[in-house]
Symmetry: C2
Subunit: 233 residues, 2 copies
DNA sequence: AAGTGGTCTAGACCACTGG
DNA sequence: CAGTGGTCTAGACCACTTA
């Protein structure tokens, strides 16, 4: 007789997942209770729990107290995205990073921006427009609003040397953020900055960050043509 | 004296995170060992572990055996994306979903497609072009290649009734996928399908899926103007 | 070689929620 | 209100990695 070895939670997870993939448990089906699975497989319940949490995080099953664990009927593709600071992104690809401040000013925020910040009484903020370069070519044009009430220190930062992107990320950690991606066609201003033709299709990455409920910044990053966002799974 | 209650792992996590946000632990700093934190806070080491895993998943700290736990120097914005099947996406917003098969054929895959599949000997696949509608208006035009070697059953599915999107997701779970987003401008064919002007900027969602190492499908989803991808964090 | 995080166990209690 | 998942503990051993 071969003595059973202890099961790792990944092995448990893979067994359960296999059962789902091969239709032993079809979408909508209820899986046995953790305790029963543990007994069947001969491991501790917490090991099953660990495996289940992984499957749940991956969106394969849905767990409810008292309700039990069910195979999700409506699978979603769940991906994790890492958006690094632009410098890192360029350097990681072996490129040469460059940065240019284009304009910096104080001004009243447009309604559209105020809406993105949700609840903010602040009406005047700092606007920063800057260009990130990769291998000396325009890479990303960013148009940013920074809440000077939340981040008064920004007034004393020399943004011609260091990008707001980096300064903020290093000095003002956020607790919440909002991300959206969409496509636009380049208007005259953006086209000029990125040195492309008007009307070129661009991917825009828009990010708003808060610390607690206080708005920090809203940035629209207009990426140069050819830019792609990738996930690795 | 008030007797200390047991700490939950979320409370532990929040305390550690607070220490990072308020610079008690600056970027690059090493945090105490789990065991020490546990003793300091008066909880079990596994509770600290749970908290740390959360911070690590969020990208705030980096953990290494023997090396200890360090606050990450270059924070990344880490977001989780859920991409549901198109029907759900439309219905969740309260819209009416519709679907039209445009074309279905067998053909030799272009080199560009073969490259995306990485290693595949298959050269002939099924191509499916279809339109997803939201409130009777074009919403997403999808151009898909399906590997008939991996998914021979697809040959017997009536794709004019059910979208390949849904059939695959229900019947052919994948084990790995690749996602990318980028912007293009609509060519004549896409413009006609989506009933928009040529040259309109479009967000494209491209997804390749595999089961094991066997290719399943590659789909390019051309979204109608105004489409946005959102993350919720 | 030794230090630190990762995992497993067995058991207890809690918290949510569906029947 | 009872069943099920979620969490906590204390302790042991493992596995990776760096000093």
């Amino acid at each position: 007789m071969i003595r059973d070895e202890r099961l790792s939670w990944k092995e448990v997870r893979d067994q359960i997942r296999a059962g789902i993939l091969n239709r032993t448990y079809a979408p909508g089906d209820k899986l046995p209770r953790d305790a029963d699975i543990a007994e069947t497989l001969g491991c501790a319940r917490s090991t099953v729990q660990r495996a289940m949490r992984d499957l749940s995080d991956a969106g394969l099953v849905e767990r409810k107290r008292k309700g039990g664990t069910h195979v999700r009927t409506d699978p979603v593709t769940r991906a994790t995205l890492d958006i690094p600071i632009t410098r890192r992104e360029v350097e990681k690809r072996g490129g040469v990073y460059g940065y240019q401040l284009i304009d910096q000013s104080l001004g009243v925020i447009p309604h559209e921006v105020a809406r993105k910040f949700e609840q903010t009484e602040t009406t005047e903020m700092m606007r920063v427009q800057a260009l990130h370069l990769a291998d000396h070519k325009p890479h990303i044009f960013e148009d940013r609003w920074i809440c000077t009430d939340t981040v008064p220190e920004i007034l004393n930062v020399d943004l011609s040397r260091e990008s707001a992107n980096e300064w903020l990320v290093r000095n003002k950690p956020y607790t919440r953020f909002d991300l959206r991606f969409y496509a636009i066609s380049a208007d005259a201003e953006i086209a000029e900055c990125l040195k492309i033709e008007r009307g070129s299709p661009l991917l825009v990455i828009e990010r708003t960050t808060w610390i607690g409920t206080a708005a920090i910044t809203l940035v629209k990053a207009y990426t140069a043509p050819g830019y792609e966002i990738l996930t690795s799974n």
